[in-house]
Symmetry: C2
Subunit: 336 residues, 2 copies
DNA sequence: CTGAAAGCGCTTACAG
DNA sequence: CTGAAAGCGCTTACAG
């Protein structure tokens, strides 16, 4: 239809009676150019709805202004990070585009580490954002070895000195346990994601600290680690109900697992919260839609997204490796 | 760290003692080049882990091999498309990358239509994938006027001749109503998303057709349209409970709204499904985690994602506008 | 079957 | 303050 005639900087230059150099400088708002010239060129740019060719620009500048958001294949067995990922993506994408960056979603096979070279060496992205989880520690190692710029959500192993943003997991565990104790629960169980996850370890430590503080001991039968999926939540809760007799509260380290756990509790004919109190983790948007609405530890996910994007950009600008921890908050609804 | 020496096609050419042209042709597997030469060049490419510069390539070829997946800003008021979007993204991304395309996520303000020029004229993407919803019909118009290549999930207004993939909404409505009728429900209500949505209209038509078929009439007090969010689900169900006396079943046109509706039903002291049966729509992954597990109309979301990607690619190759409708399926769990 | 050269549309050091 | 020219790393029509 309206095939535009004016497609390149050279077209604009011709129309404005200046050189391509000048047009280029006007577009990047160089201080070299006089105000009147800028004005004139800009008018012509606007009249013709000219938009600069991204690839030519990137080829010249040798940067893509694009970041790769690395996700694993979305599986049938809905895993916690899926929903978390969606919610954090909003904040990332906003902040990125406010800073003139685009976001490429890269779905990678956990087994494979070629993707990093693929995207970085081809210059399609300037760096990566990823969410940690066990299998990704290997990916982190690869990235570190490559010298790739990236930032992670979560707690990278200590040996890696990489930019990260994480929730205050210890505090999260503490808040959950203290609240359950305060509301009179006597036999608290812990249903966690994978034991290898630093996040999960920290949440357990916080939880354990609160129990110890209150003079309670920790019965191993009341502690279960599972995978990070809803199926794992179901399995874990079933085991807990069998082996943890007297249980009247459970702290589950993800909202999705908590939903699965609540189903199991109901199936066993126990009421929530009367018989068993449930506290989740994350405060995903669906947490307020569960039945009963889920009491949970809120991670400030929009903030997390913003910081991930911002700190990666800052890292490019300043080279500074920031490790920030953001506060968590107890959201009391009706499941506990 | 390992700053690679071999970064361009010229480096490879030098090492292999051939011209850049030849290397380029080997990389694109041109039939012009002899097998032995190909072999030799490929070996050197591999030994040096050479990866072609994407931007230079795109600049030469004048195509980006990237598609823009257009999403609206993720809001606090969790709306149906948010979760649907995540699940459909998996299939899109897989199929895209299997065909050598990248996926850029573009978050756009509903009010604004400049984004299309921004991304297309700058050549950052070759086309778009979007999910329809009311405000997007305007966007579709813009895209059509631009002559932009794109495909939509959902039912575009009839006047637009654009590639699309949609579920069989009429059938979905029919399945839901027939099942409720068959299981002995007598007073069915309809709680829908926005009345302007072609999808919702079709689901209602299917639902109404089944009722009529069964000799039932449709009481306007039993039909409510709301927005597409969970809040809307809450509000709508409250109104229904007030105005639709005798109601013993409700067909809700999205799983998220259905979750909200179930909360309201419970708050009113009614049991699900004994007092009120609930049927949702979409079969999002969380549908099996609700309490009780949600009976719903499954849209084959992974298939939808695959078709969206595939048919956009086919459209580029053949220019053919395909409008496909994919079957829906009733998934019986415990809410009805 | 292979290569030299022009071109894709930008940016920027250099010269004025 | 502005411009001519080289360069970013590819592809491909043209010539052999």
């Amino acid at each position: 239809m309206n095939k535009k005639q004016v497609q390149t900087i050279a077209d604009i230059a011709r129309l404005a009676n200046v050189s391509k150099s000048t047009v280029s400088r006007v577009l990047s708002n160089s201080s070299l150019i006089g105000e009147d010239t800028k004005e004139r060129v800009r008018t012509i740019v606007q009249q013709n709805h000219f938009i600069i060719n991204a690839y030519a620009r990137q080829l010249s500048l040798k940067q893509s202004r694009t970041v790769g958001f690395v996700v694993h294949p979305f599986s049938n067995d809905f895993s916690i990070s899926d929903l978390f990922l969606l919610e954090v993506m909003g904040g990332i994408s906003n902040t990125l585009s406010a800073n003139g960056y685009d976001m490429l979603v890269i779905q990678v096979d956990p087994q494979e580490t070629e993707w990093a070279h693929q995207y970085l060496d081809s210059r399609r992205v300037d760096g990566f954002i990823l969410l940690t989880s066990t299998w990704r520690q290997r990916h982190i190692q690869t990235l570190v070895e490559m010298g790739a710029p990236f930032i992670v959500w979560g707690v990278p192993q200590m040996i890696f000195h990489v930019p990260s943003v994480a929730g205050d997991n210890f505090q999260g565990g503490t808040l959950a346990a203290e609240y359950l104790l305060r509301s009179g629960r006597r036999h608290l169980a812990f249903l966690g994601g994978p034991a290898e996850e630093p996040e999960i370890q920290l949440r357990f430590s916080g939880y354990a600290a609160a129990l110890t503080e209150a003079g309670r001991s920790i019965d191993p039968a009341f502690v279960i680690y599972e995978a990070y999926s809803s199926t794992a939540g179901t399995l874990g809760m079933q085991r807990l109900l069998e082996q943890a007799s007297g249980l009247d509260a459970v702290f589950v380290t993800s909202d999705l697992m908590a939903m699965a756990a609540m189903q199991v509790i109901h199936e066993h004919g126990r009421r929530i919260p009367e018989d068993v109190a449930v506290v989740g983790y994350d405060d995903l948007s669906i947490a307020e839609l569960t039945n009963p609405p889920l009491t949970t530890i809120r991670q400030n996910i929009p903030l997390a997204g913003r910081l991930l994007a911002q700190n990666l950009i800052n890292y490019w600008r300043t080279g500074q490796v920031t490790k920030v921890s953001i506060p968590v908050e107890l959201i009391i609804r009706q499941s506990a």
